[in-house]
């Protein structure tokens, strides 16, 4: 039995943040019904990353919304709104990621939903919280990254701000929403009470930086300085970083600099015996390392470093990763199928429960694909 079997989730969310949370709940066993506007559906269906179109819709939509049902409803239409109010009475979880104020106007805010279903766990994601000067700003990943200070942590000193090239704020806020929802479901199992869970993209991407922000508070607010050479963490000393070799790249994590010097046959590193210097003089040490590591191949260096238990790795791209045994053995790829018959490949849930990997063959739904069946099953029409 999957852990969330029997839990019914209604997801009013669009794009990535809330829908990534409901995907995880679905893979863990919940039944997830996506509430979508008729015909066009979730805007994400037409949000293209690259110009690849799958079965008429964007690849990201298919990645995020597999293993869900779709119920089409125009929230401003009284008949559809009544259907939803009836459906909400059956739900364990209701969630959305509208901008603050929107769901209130539509009549599906927490207070309204709680009146219909006092035991509901109601989850919401905003961009920047419901107060303050940024509350009406679009809750979009790159913008949350930009405001949060995050862009000054990646790339080298002297580079422009470097964003993380993935929707980290969306993904983390979706994860934090699931944490809050699941914790409140655990409480509800004891007390019978529902709950309201709120997260924001900005708070989530600040939480990602909790270690470095605490350091920033403690060191008197010194500006963050990325390493000038092979930066991989603005607050870590040499050798931490990625270095070019004769035929590729090598990642080096923690390690004592003189020990590395001896192992690599690089005498110039041996005088750096003081751990304090590894941070204070990291650019100069890393320059020496960078020049030296170019002289041999990645495989040659790994053959020296790995047996000495130095923390290091080859730097792979997807082509080499996907061909590697260490990837195959994880069974991370699954093929899912839409009801149209169209099949596509995607990843599975990364969590294993009782030794089982969580796969699901069900692809993403067409807009409103399950409306009629859900109306029938929950008796959403006619006399209550």
């Amino acid at each position: 039995m999957r852990p969330l079997e029997g839990i019914l989730v209604l997801d009013f969310g669009q794009f990535l943040s809330a829908p990534s949370a409901s995907l995880r709940l679905a893979d863990l066993g919940a039944r997830v019904i996506k509430i979508e506007r008729p015909v066009t559906g979730d805007i994400c269906r037409q949000l293209y990353v690259s110009n690849v179109v799958l079965d008429g819709e964007s690849t990201v939509f298919h990645a995020i919304n597999r293993n869900k049902e779709s119920f089409a409803a125009d929230l401003k239409n009284p008949r559809d709104a009544e259907r939803l109010r009836r459906l909400i009475r059956h739900a364990d979880v209701v969630m959305h990621n509208f901008r603050p104020g929107v769901i209130e106007r539509l009549g599906f805010d927490y207070e309204s939903v709680r009146r219909l279903n006092p035991a509901v766990v109601y989850g919401e994601i905003s961009g920047y919280g419901a107060e303050g000067p940024w509350r009406a700003k679009p809750g979009q990943d790159l913008l949350a990254q930009a405001l949060s200070g995050l862009m000054w942590l990646s790339g080298n000193d002297g580079d422009p701000p470097v964003p993380m090239g993935l929707a980290i704020a969306d993904i983390l806020s979706g994860i934090h929403l699931t944490h809050g929802i699941l914790a409140c479901l655990v409480r509800r199992a004891i007390t019978g009470e529902g709950a309201r869970v709120q997260v924001s993209m900005l708070e989530s991407v600040l939480d990602l930086q909790f270690e470095v922000l605490t350091t920033f508070f403690q060191d008197g607010g010194e500006p963050v300085r990325r390493s000038a050479v092979a930066n991989a963490h603005a607050y870590l000393g040499a050798p931490y970083g990625i270095y070019q070799t004769a035929d590729g790249w090598l990642a080096l994590a923690m390690g004592q600099v003189p020990v590395l010097g001896r192992l690599l046959g690089c005498a110039a590193l041996e005088p750096y015996t003081e751990p304090r210097e590894w941070f204070d003089r990291r650019d100069e040490i890393k320059r020496v390392l960078a020049d030296h590591l170019k002289t041999r191949t990645t495989a040659e260096w790994l053959a020296v470093l790995e047996p000495a238990d130095i923390w290091c790795a080859d730097v792979l791209d997807w082509r080499r990763l996907l061909a590697h045994d260490a990837f195959h053995v994880l069974g991370m790829i699954q093929t899912v199928r839409r009801s149209s018959g169209f099949a596509y490949r995607t990843l599975r849930c990364p969590i294993r429960v009782d030794g089982e990997r969580l796969y699901s063959e069900r692809g993403s739904p067409a807009v409103g694909e399950h409306t009629a069946a859900i109306i029938e099953e929950f008796k959403l029409e006619g006399e209550p």
Binding site: Y128, A183, T214, T215, A232, F279, V315, D317
Partner: protein
């Protein structure tokens, strides 16, 4: 009542991945007890960033382990091991992130511990899973990023592989562990049965890439192509990126090119009208935009773009962020009170429950600080 009040978590975790899950469990209301070697304690106590220590322990340790208790036990000592087992018999959750095989050596693997406590949720983190050629490789953040393909998504085309400058693999993996734990606790409330939850750094950092990997798996395996300048996402069309202005930087997310061209009065951009152009001519468009946006200040551009609901933001650094009303209103920072009376300023849990922010002034424990209490309260010793 915080949602996890009454739950007992026993954390064998070290460094960041498992302890970050323990921190969220604590902030959500659980009682979290760290099991640490007597004396030196958990190794993270000695891992400092920027040489910052608070008392004997690194600031890093304090940041990750506030709001927890510490029980010192030598797992190689039969007496100590017996006490730990008695604690586990009463616990709801166990977490660890040792390399595969280590807990089994102490007789604390899933199969042994479930005999002691069939209701226990046993949650573990590995670097790369328990099978395959990388199973004994160090489970470390930068290494997991490096083998996962992630480093080819950030930075500009032509830049070296660019890791994310924060421990994303550790943090995501700890988050996934917590998802599994909470889901298993919910199931237990119905079935009475515990669970075995497993995650790995590599699977977590692959999951992080699930959107773009899904694209890659269905586009004939084309490699990701970072933008030449101002790259913010290898798979998104222009104008998505970061641009220098006359006095700072401006982030521009997705949006219509012809509307943008008119709003910022950029004639050169007007020939790119269709949505296909944003992909096909991405670098050319971003170059034109970069030249144009460099002419005026960030504030001037925001004044034009924000009222038109173009998705944009200025790029802040920490000093400007923490001084900003948009940050202050969140009350995201909190003070932790140390035994000597001094305080550490850190962040709170990012989740609000029933309109309440979850804060806790309780500091990280000294190694073994709570042995006496735990012996008395939980072990009747």
């Amino acid at each position: 009542m915080k949602p996890l009040e009454g739950l007992l978590v026993v954390e064998f975790g070290i460094y960041l991945a498992a302890p970050s899950a323990g921190l969220k469990l604590a902030d959500l209301g659980a009682r979290v007890i760290k099991i640490e070697p007597p004396g030196r304690g958990e190794p993270c106590r000695h891992l400092a960033i920027k040489h910052l220590f608070v008392g004997r322990d690194s600031l890093l340790f304090h940041t990750i382990n506030r709001n927890k208790e510490s029980y010192a036990a030598n797992l190689k000592d039969p007496g100590d091991l017996e006490k730990v087992k008695r604690l586990l018999a009463r616990a709801d959750v166990l977490t660890h992130n040792f390399r595969p095989g280590t807990m089994e050596k102490f007789g604390l693997g899933w199969n042994e511990v479930r005999q002691l406590n069939p209701r226990l949720v046993y949650a573990e983190i590995s670097g790369y899973g328990a099978e395959g050629p990388w199973r004994n490789k160090p489970g470390q953040d930068l290494l997991a990023q490096s083998v996962s393909g992630l480093t080819w998504l950030s930075g500009d085309a032509g830049a070296p592989p660019t890791p994310m400058g924060i421990a994303v693999a550790d943090i995501l993996c700890g988050s996934h562990l917590l998802q599994g734990i909470l889901a298993a606790l919910l199931r237990r409330s119905k079935t009475g049965r515990g669970a075995h939850v497993e995650v790995s750094l590599l699977e977590s950092v692959l999951d992080f890439q699930f959107e773009v990997l899904t694209t890659h798996l269905n586009d004939g395996g084309r490699p990701p192509q970072r933008a030449r300048r101002g790259n913010a996402h290898a798979y998104l069309a222009a104008p998505y990126g970061v641009y220098a202005t006359a006095d700072g930087y401006l982030a521009l997310a997705m949006g219509s090119l012809d509307r943008l061209a008119k709003l910022i009065d950029c004639e050169e951009l007007e020939r790119f009208t269709g949505s296909e152009d944003g992909f096909a001519h991405r670098d050319e468009i971003m170059e034109i935009l970069a030249r144009h946006l460099a002419q005026r200040t960030t504030a001037e551009w925001l004044a034009l773009l924000e009222p038109a609901d173009v998705w944009c933001a200025e790029v802040l650094d920490y000093p400007r962020l923490v001084a900003h009303e948009g940050f202050r209103v969140l009350k995201m920072d909190q003070q932790v009170e140390l035994a000597g009376g001094s305080k550490i300023r850190t962040l709170r849990c990012p989740i609000r429950i029933d309109g309440e922010r979850l804060t806790s002034p309780r500091p990280a424990p000294a190694a073994g600080e709570h042995n006496e209490i735990i012996d008395k309260e939980l072990l009747d010793a």
